[in-house]
Each structure stands twice: as structure tokens, then as C-alpha cells.
Assembly symmetry: C2
Amino acid sequence: MSLFLIRPATKDDCKDIVRLIKEMAENKRMPNGPRVDEEALQKDGFEKKPFYYCFVAELNKEELNSGIVGYVLYFFSYSTWEGRSIDVQDLYVSLQYRGRGIGSALQKRMAQEGIQNGCCRLNFTMLKQDMSSVQFYKEQGVIDLTETEGWDIFCLKKDDLFRLVEK
Amino acid sequence: MSLFLIRPATKDDCKDIVRLIKEMAENKRMPNGPRVDEEALQKDGFEKKPFYYCFVAELNKEELNSGIVGYVLYFFSYSTWEGRSIDVQDLYVSLQYRGRGIGSALQKRMAQEGIQNGCCRLNFTMLKQDMSSVQFYKEQGVIDLTETEGWDIFCLKKDDLFRLVEK
């Protein structure tokens, strides 16, 4: 019997997801990074229009300290060239539960979700300074589109959005 | 009176949007680039779960050759750090109708849409080889996150998704 279960997140899981987001931020030594709280996660994922989707990894009840120990948060994007894509925002497994295949299972679930939704590919962004992760994913066949094709990510921050509207 | 109108796209507009996508691809000398046809656009944007949203620029009826002459295609993304974002995939105005403020109006509509949906920012990707566009957007206050923070775009293509599922 598998020691864990991957299932779609529910509104009640948001508290645990926020706990894991904070844990991830602390691991990255950016404890003040996440500005998304439980209420925002509930509103953005489980009301009228979902802005994201999520799967959680839950330990089986037989195990002590059972609960949610990992998550993958994603959304869908679209290209007029190729159609639907699945975009993975975060994939995280709590440090003490690594090495059990939970991360791989979440990753596999994303691939299934992409295929079931007719996606042509799975996208994600990563800091190129994060050399060990970049290396890990490249070994899995992941392509760095910035390196190979020259795609950069651009953004306009909130203040500039307001300025644009007022023009 | 304004010479054009910006309005949400309807299912019936997909034929015109495909025409503009093809025109854009021809301008870029990539006529075989777009693999999305009218049927796919209808299905992906106007059935159960929308994979994208779109606004079109329509010339007023008083003008000869009236019709749809521009579009902006977008979707929403999500960050556990900052929450909701609006992501612009394409913003295109037919060559012969440029210089009338249609592109700026579509851009402004995106800023409004982002603000109305509580987004913290507007994202898009661009080929860094496209120097004139990069320069144009930078002058507008757009930040190149690949250049300034080191974010690269990674992807796993369809074959690799299937391989991952079968593992």
C-alpha cells in the first residue's frame, strides 16, 4: 500500500498549503516572500473563477503525524501557435518527507493533468542561479526556452497598470 | 466619436481572430507557425472551462471595410508569493490599421482587466532578439525579469509528458 495519496486540493486544505508555502519560503531564506494567506488562497482557487488549481500529497492515516506534506499549484495557459499548456507554479514537498517518491508522484500527476486537458506542453519558470535544480530538470528532458530560443519574461507592476489606465 | 470599439470576443469572432493570427505569423515570416484553427479557438475559449480570454478591436460600422482589425488574447496566472497576475499572450493590430491608437487601447484594456481582477501585475514573454519591441516596452516601464532577476522559461514537450506518465 502506498504511503501517501495525491488528490485535488479542497478549500479546507488552504491552511495547510499556506503552511507549506511558508516553509518553502523559509528554506529559501525568504520568510517574508509570500504575501498570499489562507483567505486569499480560498478565494482565488475555490470561488467563481479559479485563478489556480492544486493537488496535495497526503500521508495515509496509518502513519503518525499524518497530514498534507506536499502540493503542486498550477494553472492553464494558451498559445495561438500551439494551444493549451499546463503551467506549474510551485511543486513542493516538506523536507522531512523527501526521498519517498512524493515529488515524482506530484510531477507525474501534472503530466497526467496536462494530457487529460489536451495540453501540448508543461511550462514552468526557474531562477537560472538555482543550478542544481536546473541541472536536475534538464536531465529529465526539460528544455530551457530562454537559452535555446531567446524567450525572456517581462512584467509591468501594479503601479504601472494604474498609470496605463489613467493615460 | 471613436473610430473603433474594444469589446470582449464572442465565439463568432474566432474566424476573424484566426485570420489575424495567420496575418501576424505571415508578418513574422512564419506562415506555418500557428496550429490553432477556428474550431480549437471556439472550443478553448467559449466552452466549459475557458483556457484563454480575448478582447477584439472592431472598426465602427460607418467606416468602409469595417470588421475586426486587432485582438489581445490573455489568461490569468498565479503566484503563491504575490497572487493573481494577468498574462498577455498576443496583442496584434492589422498592419493597415496601425497608428490610430488601437494597440494602445487594447493595452489599456488589459491594464483595466488586470486591475478589475485584483492582479498584482501583467506578464508577457518576448524574444529578446526582437530588439525594437523590447526597447519599446522598456521605455513604457516594463521590466525584463530574465535580465534583472534571472528567471528562465522551461518546458517539457508532449512526448515527455507521456513518458513521465508511463514511468
